[in-house]
């Protein structure tokens, strides 16, 4: 699996996710600077976490307009898989390659710590190594992860199975464990064709037993299985 990780000024989780990809796929991803207009031909594009442009104005807004993102959008429209995590999700939402938007956390604070997630489907490039309904534990770290989308779109997304992950309690209770006030506890969503996944939690920080557990690993293994 050949992957490219797009790096903006202020991105800071690019090494974490590059590591996770290298560890699971055996190949180091290419790091692509936002100013480059060339995006190598790859099987997977990753938009990593961080504070691109300081999260100023609106998180993700400035990065969404980086030169390289035009090409990312074109490729995404052609079906190249895109994994957009945390700030990457915010960027992807700003670009419109996944529906919805990420608002300030309802409690207005940055939140870092483990959350539980319910995997809503195993029928995707990103989740085929999980069981549908599986409860996993991975960390979050964000101040703007409060997912919002209008009712009509939400209904369509739910009908089409575009909800990838929801926050829940350790026992899968969807009424618990929402760390940021997200609508319907949504933690991750697909685009219509399920080739793009935007998610707030950090699977890349849950790949080693000593360092937050291994529940995030299957996400990368799913990609390797589906792509390579």
């Amino acid at each position: 699996m050949k992957a490219a990780v797009v790096v903006f000024p202020g991105t800071n989780r690019e090494h974490d996710i590059a590591n996770a990809i290298a560890l699971t796929s055996g190949a180091k991803p290419a790091m692509v600077w936002h100013g480059d207009s060339e995006l190598p031909k790859v099987d997977l594009i990753v938009i990593p976490g961080g504070f691109s442009y300081g999260d100023y104005l609106r998180c993700g807004a400035m990065a969404a307009h980086s030169p390289v993102m035009r090409e990312v959008k074109t490729r995404a429209e052609k079906g190249v898989p895109v994994l957009a995590v945390c700030n990457g999700f915010q960027v992807a939402a700003e670009m419109g390659i996944v529906p919805g938007t990420l608002m300030r956390n309802a409690h207005l604070q940055f939140v870092c710590g483990d959350v539980h997630l319910k995997v809503e489907t195993s029928q995707s490039l990103f989740t085929n190594r999980y069981q549908q309904g599986q409860i996993i534990r991975v960390p979050v770290a964000h101040a703007e992860g409060n997912y919002f989308v209008d009712n009509d779109t939400l209904k369509r997304m739910e009908d089409r199975g575009q909800i990838a992950l929801r926050y829940c309690g350790a026992d899968g209770d969807l009424a618990a464990g929402n760390p940021n006030g997200s609508l319907r506890s949504i933690a991750g969503v697909f685009n219509e064709t399920k080739s793009v996944l935007g998610m707030m939690p950090h699977p890349e920080n849950a790949i080693e037993p000593r360092f937050g557990g291994t529940d995030g690993k299957a996400l990368f293994e799913s990609l390797v299985a589906a792509i390579a």
């Binding site: 000024p9 974490d16 300081g54 870092c112 360092f211």
Partner: protein
Amino acid sequence: MNAPEKNPPVKLPNEPVITPQVVAEHGLAPDEYQRLLRIMGRDPTMVELGIFSAMWSEHCSYKSSKVWLKKLPTQAPWVICGPGENAGVIDIGDGQAAVFKMESHNHPSYIEPYQGAATGVGGILRDVFTMGARPIANVNALRFGDPSHPKTRHLVSGVVAGIGGYGNCMGIPTVAGETNFHRAYNENILVNAMTVGIAPADRIFYSAAAGLGNPIVYVGSKTGRDGIHGATMSSAEFSEDSESKRPTVQVGDPFVEKLLLEACLELMATDAIVAIQDMGAAGLTSSSFEMADKGELGVELHLDRVPMRETGMNPYELMLSESQERMLMVLKPGREEMARKVFEKWELDFAVIGTLTDTRRMVLRWHGDVVANIPIPPVVTQAPMYERPWTETRLPSTLAIADVPAPKDYGAALLKMIGCPDLASKAWIWRQYDHLIMGNTAIRPGGDSAVVRVAANKPKALAITSDCTPRYCAAHPETGGRQAVAEAWRNLTAVGARPLACTDNMNFGNPTKPEVMGQFGGCITGMAEACRALDFPIVSGNVSLYNETEGRPIMPTPVIGGVGLLADVEGCVDIALREAGLALVLVGETKGHLGQSIFLREVHGREAGAPPPVDLTVERRNGDFVRGQIGAGHVAACHDLSDGGLLIALTEMAMAGATGATIEAPGDIAPHAWLFGEDQGRYLLATARPDAVIAAAARAGVPARRIGTSGGGALTVEGLMAISLSELRRSHETWLPAYMAGEAA
């Protein structure tokens, strides 16, 4: 001095006349001004006066503390660079070095908690990456006033948001810290921030300028009027009108600092940099003096070339501005364009603003005219240095156990203690800090030390902690100083690490008061003894004086930031009691010392007696033993005993691992003294091999006895109390969130 000066400065348009009042406003005492006149051989210009005032401020000159700081041990075979540079550097093997330091931002944080704390973090990060290190962990040691004080909640919320705001954006995990509340800090909170970084041991960057004619380069953000007089402000005692000094507050831009970090590290990978120094307190003034003085050279700067954020700025402002996210560098000749490209790629300002000369003078030009011309060495060597009078704090008499009644209800006492502001969970704080980024955090906040792997896919890790028990320091500074070092050392040991070195942040009151100076000296004496006895040198540090409001000094607070090494992160242990059936082994001797204890304060409302004595020989022996047992794989969980004593430690272990325990008090000591005494040098181990551990302890001459067993959903002290973990957790976890949500203190 008598020969006519070669380049006498011109005055700026509308320059005020220097009156005694102007001198006083610059924080210079009359005799200090006389000293200035002797050095200059003439009246200074305003720019020059401003420079002297900054260089001779307490903050930059350490004039009250220097004589004492010399007593601290700073050497060990693994120390690469001790105090005096931007940060301390130690060898951690495999060609790697750990670079770390702690720094205070107390006064700015009281005035504007968010920005004050944020720029404190920004400053300490720069200190570390200036030396060529990539930061891998942040630590914060916080002291707030009484929760019932009207400002406390606002200060907590702003400081925590500011620390998180800066560190999170930078992408550096904030992994450890401490948070105390006490009325002594009501109007003078303490915000101490520490950063630990990793650098190649043979690629450390220093600040000494070298190379006559080499270009001096300014990089980073533009200079604005931020914090002008910041350095003098943080050295002046707060008064009622401190609020009017508000506009000097600096605003941080962590996004720019992240770019600056990446740009500096990128340039450091080349051979372009001769010397580098961040612009911290007293900005361009102290950075240029420091570089020139250390390199025994002179400096000529064209201040009109400094990138400016505002129109109409003058040389005085440029020299004293404390705008953040700026660095000064000396480059090798001919490397300017290459360096410029790097900084422009990262969208940062870059300007060649001067050259190194051999005059040993600081010559500042403004559109060609000389506006300041100061001989450099005397400003440094003849800086005021005071041996201030001091009085000793006498050791209070030891409080006998018999003078401290047992609680009527042990369960109620425990619930009260575990939920009191000092012992309540600080999760509300660290959940706002990204403590997981980089994927290397093996032990998260909430234990004794944080453990952070040095690099992904490598086994080596650092243990990091910060510690101080101000109430001990107030009762008896020497014991308190000893205890702070010992506790940091113990916290590193408790995760299995070998303590290597520490940094300190000396927070004290007004040094012209003999009792404050006595506290300072006492703490230093105790720290020095402990550092020596534990082979735990101090490699960097910071002094913050004048921490008082309306005449009352804060409690003496010498914070110790400790760093230890774990060859293999897999070998570390944390405090969590995760399994039933483990034996609980108490290591160290328990006499039941209740003076200055949390039990005494929270249950009986008294702050009295002598602090627990610290026997450094015993401390070391017990610690070495515990580390050995962890290394041998005999230990499933370990917690050192500190605030609140044995029962608090056990409660924390039980809550952390969601497993209860049952213990039995021995018959030869009053149970409340045994459970809540704060005797030093002790650890509580959970082990599946109690016999091996106890036998090894006997061989090492270390007191160790089995006191109980893990298991169940409650904490039970036979015959005295039984209380469910959920009830304990409720008390422990609700106080801070409820308080911050606006509930009464």
